[in-house]
């Protein structure tokens, strides 16, 4: 039954290995552990101990009288609060790191991108002239930190949204005041017996999500860029085949870049490389899983070994000396799985410990020392390696598209802008934009929804940007290589060829979904395709969502104006009212809506319908797949095939049909 578990050949191979060895994985557990049918649809209320109440069948209200809609809305809002907390706590830690670096207490770190520091300082209204970068960084870090504890006013980055959007948030009372305040308020309002109006609860869910997208996440992205550099494109490979049989393999897994950045430095340390050689290895090979992988992929070209559902499979190769984890999306099963191999599971965050793992606490004040100790431990483990099985699958990847680079690539240092992209949308070369983001979910075949959706979108001339585990999926299946433009529609292919990009752009980790907000705002500001995000022919898609973070991201996307489609099943399916509120209800308020379609075919169809509807509303030409595609190198293949001296320079007709 392996075929229904994943569409990734590397995963299928490893699942056979697992089966042969009698090892258990999430793929198997998903079959054994059926989802609770009541909880999965949002109909279970376990907020107080008169319950838990199961609002199914004839039961339409709980002991306290809470309706199904109230229960589903409360569950939903709590998911948003959980997700927002995860992203935001990540952002907060980066602010602490930046402050430490500014004070000269961040061992091994530096302010890598001064231009970005200046840009961020400008967003924050922090003076820069005549000040050292450390002084500025201290103020930026402090201001960033304030965003979490702020009680009144508006989160500072919301002013990066279009004026129209800000106005709408203010009028609707959705403007987030402070990250922690919104999360706390959501938890309070969803406590037993507080906010019992589903619509009011869901409004607060939006406000909390905005505090994530335009607060915690956006700060996490910006502060990471300042500290570790703003990504620019680089090449690498993806999938389990990046593990090496003859080198010390270290996998970093989780979400934060702080530790992984230092591990990158440590693995390049000549002394440690020598040490690895002394243990019989040819070198040290670093690879990643989940978003911490995206962070170091975008900045250093460290190859990703895979996405969420690859974490156990990686261990099962037997080739991993250490799997170093920080926070989020780390399966507890890793600890017991690792017992079967020489692999050491090393936890590093005081916030995230796992029974059975080795804990080596990471301290950003002694970052490099911590990282070196971890790498050294991995090297020490190399001689313990047993039989290995590394599946030989990789694909070429180009990653590293920060919004700064997106601007640059469309005109260079002097003329960078979003004009070419907007022009392409206006002309219909690009039908629209789609962000395909989010997780793997063991309940649906790994990567199937993600890859099929992306394949169909680019075939229909929709430019796709990806983050998170969807980005890994794209990379593993070759969608991040520029050659993939051959499978794009003719207009999109032409644009890809003009710029030199793949039709699917890797924008980063899941906190980097904030980059999508920035990009869309810049598209709106550039002009011609709407004055606000909700007018742009664009959709957000999360085909295989799994965690609360995805729900938070989906919600801030909607509140920012994006039509957002999720796969799997709806977590509020039990309540028609909530289903309607987050769809039509939110669309009336904020222009975006949240919908759930288990079948990716529906996601593609609805996305294209929406894009065409938005095109029509803007008065743009109707999308026509046959109109473009004549330019570029591709049509001249016959011409270039000849040696230069045999080419007839004065006739194209001799080589090109039509």
């Amino acid at each position: 039954m392996a075929g229904t578990k994943s569409i990734d050949p590397a995963a299928l191979e490893m699942l056979e290995v697992a089966q042969a060895a009698g090892l258990d994985t999430a793929f198997d557990r998903a079959e054994r552990v059926k989802p609770c049918p009541i909880g999965s649809e949002g109909a279970c209320c376990k907020i107080c101990f008169m319950g838990p109440c199961r609002l199914v069948g004839k039961v339409t209200e709980g002991v306290c009288g809470a309706t199904l809609a109230t229960v589903a809305a409360r569950n939903f809002a709590r998911m948003v609060a959980g997700g927002a907390s995860a992203h935001s706590d990540h952002g907060r830690d980066l602010a602490f790191t930046l402050i430490a670096v500014a004070k000269g207490e961040g061992q091994g770190y530096q302010i890598r991108d001064v231009a970005k520091l200046y840009a961020v300082a400008e967003y924050m209204g922090i003076p820069t002239t005549g000040r050292t970068k450390e002084e500025i960084a201290l103020d930026v870090g402090t201001k960033a930190l304030e965003q979490f504890g702020q009680q009144r006013g508006e989160i500072i980055y919301t002013k990066r949204a279009t004026a129209k959007r800000q106005q709408r948030w203010r009028e609707l009372g959705l403007m987030p005041r402070g990250v922690d305040r919104e999360v706390v308020e959501t938890l309070h309002r969803t406590h037993e017996g507080v906010d019992l109006d589903p619509e009011n609860i869901l409004d607060q869910a939006m406000r909390t999500a905005l505090a994530d997208g335009w607060g915690g996440s956006m700060l996490a992205t910006d502060l990471s860029d300042i500290l570790f550099g703003t990504p620019t494109p680089l090449q690498t490979k993806a999938n389990l085949g990046v593990l090496k049989d003859d080198e010390v393999n270290i996998i970093i897994h989780g979400h934060e870049p702080t530790l992984s950045e230092m591990i990158v430095v440590a693995t390049q340390d000549p002394e440690l490389i020598e040490y690895a050689k002394s243990k019989g290895a040819k070198g040290i090979n670093l690879a990643g899983i989940c978003c911490t992988s995206n962070e170091i992929l975008m900045r250093h070209g460290i190859p990703p070994a895979g996405n969420f559902l690859h974490q156990e499979l990686a261990v099962m190769t037997g080739a991993v000396e250490a799997m170093v984890v920080d926070v989020q999306c780390i399966m507890q099963a890793l600890a017991s799985l690792a017992q079967n191999f020489h692999t050491e599971l090393i936890t590093t965050s005081p916030k995230a410990k796992i029974p059975g793992a080795i804990h080596m606490e990471f301290d950003e004040h002694r970052a490099l020392d911590s990282a070196k100790a971890i790498v050294r431990r991995a090297i020490d483990n190399y001689p313990n390696r047993g039989k290995t099985h590394i599946p030989g699958f990789t694909n070429d990847v180009v990653a590293g598209f920060s919004h700064e680079y997106l601007r640059y690539m469309q005109g260079g240092y002097y003329r960078g802008s979003f004009r070419p992209l907007n022009d392409a949308i206006i002309a219909g070369r690009i039908r629209g934009l789609a962000g395909v983001v989010g997780c793997n979910n063991a309940r649906v075949p790994q990567d199937e929804g993600i890859i099929n959706t992306i394949r169909e979108l680019i075939r229909n001339d929709v430019l796709v940007v990806v983050t998170g585990c969807a980005a890994h999926a794209s990379g593993k299946h070759g969608y991040l290589s520029p050659e993939m433009m051959m499978n794009a529609g003719p207009g999109l292919r032409e644009v890809c060829e003009a710029i030199g990009i793949p039709p699917v752009l890797h924008l980063g980790s899941c906190v980097d979904n904030s980059r999508i907000l920035t990009v869309l705002t810049q598209v709106a500001t550039e002009g011609g395709v709407g004055q606000d995000i909700d007018e742009i022919p664009a959709v957000g898609i999360c085909p295989e969502y799994m965690c609360e973070k995805a729900i938070a991201i989906g919600t801030y996307a909607v509140a920012s104006g994006i039509y957002t489609l999720f796969g799997v099943e709806s977590p509020v399916a039990a309540s028609e009212e909530v289903t309607r509120l987050i769809s039509e209800g939110w669309e009336k308020k904020v222009g975006g809506k949240l919908e759930f379609y288990p079948d990716w075919n529906d996601i593609v169809r609805k996305s294209l319908e929406h894009i065409d509807k938005k095109r029509a509303a803007l008065g743009l030409v109707e999308y026509d797949p046959t109109r473009y595609g004549q330019s570029g190198d591709l049509p001249l293949a016959a011409f270039f095939a000849l040696p230069p001296e045999e080419r007839n320079l004065y006739s194209r007709k001799a080589y090109v049909q039509g």
């Binding site: 990847v397 690539m409 240092y413 002097y414 190198d633 320079l649 004065y650």
Partner: protein, 751 residues
């Protein structure tokens, strides 16, 4: 981009930057870092470098930071597999290419190798050091004198032709097509040693500023000169400063309609240079097979178009050239209105500057040996039969080759909106209209008109009635809003000639009188002129009967007529309203208008003063006036005068202070004829305040100046005014003034 183009451009860029590096090291060693670098008569240093980087290169050593900057803009070539994006990188490399090319040109100037030699070449109008030279960079004077035509759309833009056309005939036809559309033609580059410049020379095409064809140099590197021209138009007319690269480039994208025609095989350096040109928003059209780049954005329409010559529809090179140029114009988005003039020779403003030499002449009218006049009058609608063109008298077939003949051109127009005041406005156009025909030369006006027709035009069938056809077509197309019917009499019969000449002279006298009576007080309305806002967005001219536009091309009557023709156009009536200060020329409504039309950047305009809130300038001024504090007066330098002025700056440098819509007391651009107006800086003391003036003005306006001096009560005043022949520093001016007893010294202190 395409990966192919990116690869070639990046390769070309890396090579040329290395070449620049090597040449710079050599020059540093041989000439030393302090050796001066200077392009022909420009205030903008090496203008492309200035525009992109703000670096003011004035010597060899000054190129070092430019080279360093070039290096930061270079990138490696895209790989064959899993390549990284290349568009932004290629455009940056294109910029590096332009900077390196201009740096190389600067060094070549220092070595005395630019402008390049080209034996046998003779340009009509150029910045070249003499015959036998290519033009090299266009100087600031020529840039400014083309300014008004560039802004009012008469000259839609420029085409840079790089390389060598498939055949000589193709080269000529492409150039003719561009000339007919009044597009400036810039030539550079070669293919295997042969350049489009050779082709045009071999075909006897007249080149030079006067025919809108500028041959810069035989190599690709010379293509940087057009880019410098484009940069300077943003600096000159757009009021931008060096280093405002993005603004300068966008200004060019949106306002300067230029494109490149790559003729013949495109090599690495041409691709690299083209990448630089694309940053200005200038698209490239090739007559060979190259990959196309059609998605838009950096340029307004397609970036690169390939139109291989053999594939272009058409039997002849002429037909192919027409389609080729038409496509180029579409790609650039240039809006060009061509008036079809049914005459047997090519027609367009580019031919206005053509001369007819004595030895090429078939016949002349006027001049030394005969008398010619032209007279336009309005008559009642029913007295005009539209498109009636009469030849009264014999044609010139009996006049020997090279001979002369009397001629009268009488144009009668009628129209419901026509006014008597517009007669001289329309009559003045006869000069431009007739001059547009290739092979015809027109000089002068009224009864001092002088027309020559060359042999080639007559061979093609040009006859006297064609003058009528030209005037009929152009008056309808340009003045259709006020002219409904036009008839033309071409008079060679001696009796009729004498009769109409007498009538015309009565009319000339009447108009002179009317014009001299027309004062600022005698009218209720002034006119605005915001024609140049397409180039200088904050500048507004206020034009009154006694103060013509600073470009010299628009007087009050022109504006009035223009307003009739296009009621929502750039010339709007401004009811003067209450005079805040009549003597100084400050009017309530004028101020209100200027505030609004300058988008708030100018609050008040004093019409008759240079010292208090003077009128701003675009960049097309004929003259610049500037205070000389030591001399208690002002100097006036004319656009034609390249010499050093007592202000310590040449015209070009001064122009940077006066232009761009900036209001600077003590500095002002103005039209030549304002000097002889009664209102000329009346508030500051009038003509008597002028202590220095370019001799060019003294000579070309001798009579008018004399009259104005008499009116000012000092008949010898003009001789008391210093010029560049006696003084080029303020101290020298002062000494001269004291020597001749100039009245300014006795006037109340200016400051």
């Amino acid at each position: 981009m395409s990966r192919y183009i990116a690869t070639r451009a990046l390769r070309g860029a890396n090579l040329i930057v290395n070449e620049f590096d090597a040449l710079l090291q050599k020059a540093l060693q041989e000439l030393g870092p302090d050796k001066e670098i200077k392009f022909t008569n420009t205030a903008y240093y090496l203008p492309t470098i200035l525009g992109y980087t703000g670096i003011e290169v004035s010597n060899i050593g000054g190129l070092k930071p430019v080279l360093e900057h070039c290096r930061t803009l270079l990138h490696g070539l895209p790989s064959n597999k899993t390549w990284l994006p290349y568009l932004g990188e290629t455009l940056d490399a294109g910029v590096a290419t332009l900077l390196a090319e201009e740096g190389i040109m600067g060094i070549r100037f220092a070595y005395g190798l630019e402008p390049q030699k080209m034996p046998g070449l003779e340009l009509t109008g150029s910045s070249a050091p003499g015959p036998g030279y290519l033009n090299g960079p266009i100087d600031d004077i020529q840039l400014r004198s083309w300014g008004i035509q560039l802004v009012d759309g008469r000259m839609p833009g420029f085409a840079a032709l790089i390389g060598c056309a498939k055949t000589n005939q193709a080269a000529v036809e492409i150039v003719r097509q561009l000339q007919q559309r009044n597009i400036l033609i810039f030539l550079s580059g070669n293919v295997n040693g042969r350049s489009v410049i050779h082709q045009l020379m071999e075909e006897g095409v007249e080149m030079g500023y006067d025919t809108y064809i500028v041959p810069f140099g035989l190599d690709t590197i010379s293509t940087v000169y057009p880019m410098g021209f484009a940069t300077r138009s943003a600096l000159t007319f757009g009021g931008m400063k060096g280093g405002q690269a993005r603004e300068i480039l966008l200004y060019n994208k949106y306002r300067v309609f230029a494109f490149a025609l790559a003729l013949g095989e495109v090599d690495d350096l041409k691709y690299a240079t083209a990448a630089g040109a694309i940053t200005y928003g200038f698209p490239v059209l090739a007559d060979t097979v190259i990959p196309e780049i059609r998605p838009t954005g950096i340029t307004q329409y397609e970036h690169v178009i390939s139109m291989p010559w053999d594939d272009i529809e058409g039997e002849t090179d002429a037909e192919k050239a027409a389609r080729f140029v038409q496509r180029a114009i579409e790609v650039r988005g240039v809006k060009i209105k061509i008036t079809e003039v049914p005459i047997p020779v090519p027609y367009g403003s580019a031919f206005e500057g053509e001369r007819v030499r004595k030895e090429d002449m078939r016949i002349e009218f006027g001049g030394k040996y005969s008398r010619a006049f032209e007279y336009l009058r309005m008559v009642d609608l029913d007295e005009v039969e539209d498109h009636k063109i009469e030849l009264i008298g014999p044609d010139f077939s009996d006049v020997p080759v090279g001979g002369a003949m009397d001629l009268g051109i009488v144009v009668e127009v009628a129209g419901r909106k026509m006014q008597e005041d517009f007669e001289p406005v329309l009559e003045r156009q006869i000069h431009y209209f007739i001059n547009g025909a290739s092979g015809i030369q027109h000089i002068g006006q009224r009864d001092i008109a002088w027309i020559r027709i060359n042999k080639a035009a007559v061979d093609k069938g040009f006859n006297l009635k064609h003058f009528g056809e030209i005037l009929y077509a152009r008056l309808h197309s340009d003045f259709g809003a006020i002219v409904d019917k036009v008839q033309v009499k071409i008079i060679t019969d001696p009796d009729v000639h004498a009769e109409w000449l007498a009538k015309a002279r009565v009319a000339y006298d009447y108009r002179n009188k009317r014009l001299s009576e027309m004062t600022d007080e005698s009218v209720e309305e002034f006119y605005s002129c915001t024609l140049c806002q397409s180039f200088a967005p904050d500048h507004v001219c206020v034009i009154s009967p006694e103060r013509l536009g600073l470009c010299g091309a628009y007087n009050w009557l022109d504006c009035k007529a223009s307003h009739q023709i296009n009621p929502t156009g750039p010339n709007q009536p401004i009811a003067k309203g209450r005079a805040i200060d009549e003597w100084r020329g400050v009017f309530e409504n004028v101020n209100a208008f200027v505030q609004q039309a300058s988008h708030g950047s100018v609050q008040s305009v004093t019409m008759y003063s240079i010292m208090e809130t003077p009128m701003t300038s675009c960049g097309c001024f004929e003259c610049i006036m500037m205070i000389l504090p030591l001399c208690n007066g002002f100097m006036i330098v004319s656009r034609e005068d390249p010499s050093m002025t007592p202000a310590g700056m040449t015209f070009s440098t001064l122009a940077g202070m006066a232009g761009g819509g900036l209001q600077t007391p003590g500095v002002m651009g103005h039209g030549k004829y304002f000097i002889v107006s009664r209102k000329f800086i009346r508030a500051d003391g009038g003509l008597k305040r002028i202590v220095w003036m370019s001799s060019f003005l003294k000579e070309t306006m001798a009579e008018e100046l004399k009259e104005a001096a008499i009116r000012a009560g000092d008949p010898d005043l003009i001789d008391k005014i210093a010029d560049e022949r006696v003084a080029t520093t303020e101290e020298e001016v002062l000494a001269y003034l004291e020597q001749v007893g100039h009245p300014a010294l006795a006037m109340e202190p200016l400051m």
